[in-house]
């Protein structure tokens, strides 16, 4: 098992996670990110669009539709196939890292017989 460094920062991870169930517009993404992260990640609008710009440039999200509400543009963002792969791979990496802590049997198996016993 190999656990490499995190690919995504927390805001990007939760934005991608928020989009797993379908396209959303900016305000709903902010609220979903808050809920999914148990309010650990609270994105201001300026930060949200900076994250969306980076993810769009990396080809992980895309604008899929646009509507006018109260005279203002409202765009809906969706995961691209790459975006879905990336967030699922990151989730698997985090789950594997969590397993090392919570699963004693796995920890023993990984350490095997080469483990150094504490003094």
């Amino acid at each position: 098992m190999t656990i490499q460094g995190a690919v995504l920062r927390a805001p990007s991870y939760f934005v991608l996670a928020a989009l797993l169930d379908g396209p959303l517009h900016g305000y709903v993404i902010i609220k979903r990110v808050e809920a999914l992260s148990d309010e650990a990640v609270r994105l201001a609008a300026g930060s949200l669009y900076a994250v969306l710009d980076r993810l769009a440039e990396a080809g992980l999200v895309e604008v899929v539709s646009e509507e006018i509400v109260n005279g203002r543009a409202r765009r809906y963002y969706a995961l691209t196939p790459d975006g879905e792969d990336t967030v699922r791979a990151e989730a698997a990496r985090l789950a594997a890292a969590a397993d090392i802590v919570t699963n004693q049997a796995l920890r023993r198996r990984v350490l095997g017989t080469t483990a150094v016993r504490p003094a």
């Binding site: 995504l8 900016g26 201001a44 609008a45 669009y49 710009d53 109260n70 203002r72 409202r74």
Partner: protein, 280 residues
């Protein structure tokens, strides 16, 4: 935009460049208004800070650097431009002091100006050759200019390590020379508090740079490199008669150590922030 809250958010959005506002302004405004309570009349502090910070990042062009390498190459380029600006400022300052220019001084200024143009056009090798020529001409006069010296080092790093990173800067950067001339005049023409204000302003700009644009502390550090080296090594005059006994001396002044510690701090802060800000 009759709603006072929308109007106030609209003012904050001016922090973004106009191209970004045309593309995103309406959408961003809609999102912050969706998140506002019905009675709210003023932008929340959190949203205001975020909009201004991200707007300034977009305006500075920091957001387009997607790797730490891109941040370093642009920081080095900006640093070289600042150094060459001050290389021009020295001889111009002499002119203001009433000292005439020799042909050699004129050549040095032309080389520095040509170096600025080549650097802002991202022609590293040409800029390096021009800057090294300026340094050599001054050395023939037994004058070691660390503005040129540090610029040679910065451009050599760009030519060797960042050969393919060739992002030209806007022509506005030509103003670096007159700006450096203006700054170089300050200590002679104004009272001490203004000199202190210039240093405080430099530190403040670097701190803002650490938060918003890591290219700024990297570029600013190069100015301190030149000042630290100027206080460490160079041709020094001995005796009463000018040019009677000029020797090359390496003797670091205490301030050099302070400046080099600041350089290390600025490079480190710029590097760490560049890694943080360019991560997805």
């Amino acid at each position: 935009m009759s709603d006072p809250l929308a109007r106030r958010y609209g003012l904050l959005l001016l922090a973004y460049p106009s191209e970004y506002r045309e593309r995103r302004g309406d959408e961003l405004l809609g999102t912050v208004l969706d998140d506002a309570s019905p009675q709210q009349r003023w932008p929340s502090g959190r949203e205001a800070v975020s909009i201004v910070a991200q707007g300034l990042r977009a305006r500075l062009g920091a957001a387009r650097c997607r790797t730490p390498g891109a941040v370093w190459s642009e920081g080095l380029q900006m640093g070289a431009l600042l150094l060459l600006g001050f290389a021009v400022a020295g001889p111009v300052d002499d002119l203001f002091q009433g000292a005439g220019w020799s042909v050699r001084t004129g050549i040095v200024v032309l080389l520095a100006l040509a170096g600025i143009v080549a650097t802002l056009r991202a022609r590293w090798i040409v800029a390096l050759a021009l800057t090294a020529a300026g340094l050599t001409v001054l050395l023939l006069d037994r004058w070691l200019s660390w503005w040129f010296g540090a610029a040679v080092v910065a451009l050599a790093v760009l030519a060797v390590r960042f050969r393919s990173a060739r992002r030209a800067r806007s022509a506005e950067w030509l103003l670096v020379a007159p700006a450096a001339v203006a700054v170089a005049q300050l200590p002679d023409r104004v009272a001490l508090p203004v000199g202190v204000a210039v240093i405080a302003g430099f530190v403040l700009v670097c701190l803002i740079g650490v938060a918003l644009d890591p290219r700024i502390p990297i570029a600013g550090a190069w100015l301190l490199v030149a000042i630290a080296l100027d206080n460490t090594a160079g041709f020094r005059l001995y005796g009463d008669i000018p040019d009677s006994d000029t020797r090359f001396v390496v003797h670091p002044a205490p301030v050099s150590y302070v400046l080099l510690a600041m350089v290390a701090g600025l490079f480190l802060a710029g590097h760490v922030r560049s890694r943080q800000l360019t991560r997805l």
